[in-house]
Amino acid sequence: MAGSGKAHLRPSSDPILSVEDLVVEFKAAGRESIKAVSGISFDLIRGETLAVVGESGCGKSTLGKAILRLIPSSGGSVSFEGRDLLALPDDELRQMRPAMQMIFQDPVSSLDPRFSVARLVEEPLAIWARGTVEERSKRVDELLEAVGLDAHLVRDRKPYEFSGGQCQRISIARSLALEPMLLVCDEPVSALDVSVQAQILNLLQDMKERYGLTMVFISHDLAVVKAVSTRIMVMYLGKVCEVAGPDTIYAQPRHHYTHALVSSIPLPDPNAPRVRTAIEGEPPSPANPPSGCRFRTRCPAATDKCAVEEPQLTEVAPGHFVACHHPR
């Protein structure tokens, strides 16, 4: 699995974000380097939510940070609104920043504990000198109300006074302050309880409609992803396995890895047929990935061809792309 290819790109649909052959490397001990993201391409059409799914260490968070150029990439291109972010000089990149924002996984540690809620949400507006002090204060109240917090009650409190779910609401208010076009959410609900998780997912959907956002939604939880996404990209060891719409990918996963992920989810129904573990073991080290298809060491359908030749993304049904020599 884990192949390359650009068959799934849609240049004719005027994508807001287009990523091609993106490579991100980290230096490891000695002269080794680890390719966390190894030649990934995808695009996003305005108003779409692309979910990026995979296990820990597959490179999904690295990908999220690299497209916003929060970490340096070592190859490829990221075109946002028609401009290549990776080639942009620093000052021009800075001017693009308000249009692209990020929400991080841990809502508590991503907020400065010494700041009041009002100051946290106002900070981006103050940095960009948007409006007068009074206008900014009014805007902070609007944002807090929009994410479901009572502005008068919470303005002067500090983050530690809030639960994880409420902190995530504050983070969302903060990320929306500058009215971004693109929002990258890195595991925004992984640290939250199921009941709170549903609240935050619904809030993100509301915000998306209200502010016309385009989103990249990074998560390891396929069930969460299904509820929010318009397109899903499954990653394994820095490569793309499968790209499809949410209903297709769960009903008919064609990649063996996607199938394993889907069948590993515990269903809240004791009468559902028990599925034994679909795959054994854990992903190999990205420092020394398997040749050919990267999933072949755990794949039930692997053949000699998989060790030699890297599969390319091909369209197996309209809008459904798989990188596998032997799709299910």
């Binding site: 296990e55 199921v194 998780q197 997912l201 619904n202 590993s264 269903l267 034994r276 854990e282």
Partner: protein, 289 residues
Amino acid sequence: MGIVGESGSGKTVMCRAAMGLLRGGNVRSSGSVVFDGDEIGNLPSADVRKYFGTGMAMIFQDPMTALNPVRRIGAQLAESLVIRLGMNKKAARDRAAELLALVRIPDPEATLRKFPGQLSGGMRQRVVIATAIACKPKLLFADEPTTALDVTVQAQILELLSDLRRDLNMAMALVTHDLGVVANHTDYVTVLYAGLVVEQAPTTKLFTSMRMPYTEALLKSIPRLDQPSGGRMPMIGGRLPDPTNPEPGCPFAPRCPYVQDRCRSEVPPLTTAADGHVYRCFYPIGGHG
């Protein structure tokens, strides 16, 4: 037995208290804990300790912090074998290797010489499980054993725990916030809310005819693969009540879709239905009976 509830519902505190791990000036407790016929709730810490390992053992949520980072896996595993079972070092080491094989760690001999930092989260959790079952406990508390793990690894660990429970004839209390985990790996379920038991029933019965509005809301808020994509998810509004400032009445009343006046003034008693289903509600789903 599965123990389910949101963060702050008291799942972990209940297990720790049952094991006598909650002691100290700021803890006040009452009630009794009977383990294997012995009352252990009021024993001093040193005496409760005698039950650890061979009687009760616990698996903690975070495999990253449950192991000592500066000691080799072999030494950590052998420790309880030497202390509890009086094995000599050589025998303990051999047994440690067997235990690692039992929790399906490939190449146990090499793993014995490694430090926790050299292992992945899934492998570390296997080591923690091996440590917990080392002295063949009769009762194993597993406190969110898979919450920190990936879904594929979670499936492997849950299967491992189910197999070990059967093979070693252990009782297991599986603490989790995930009803999906409970549905497939337990015989009996206890649901906690705000420090109270709110529902108790055999697993199949709980899922087919739940009586507590809270359990129903919890189940509905889980994103399901068989639901169509897009659209809004059912959710429980609000949050857990503030434990330092409890309001009168049923603790779930402010969030309950079926709330009535009586719920706001009186705490419902724990009721046992004729079929053994236990619940805490004045107006259970499907009525009393």
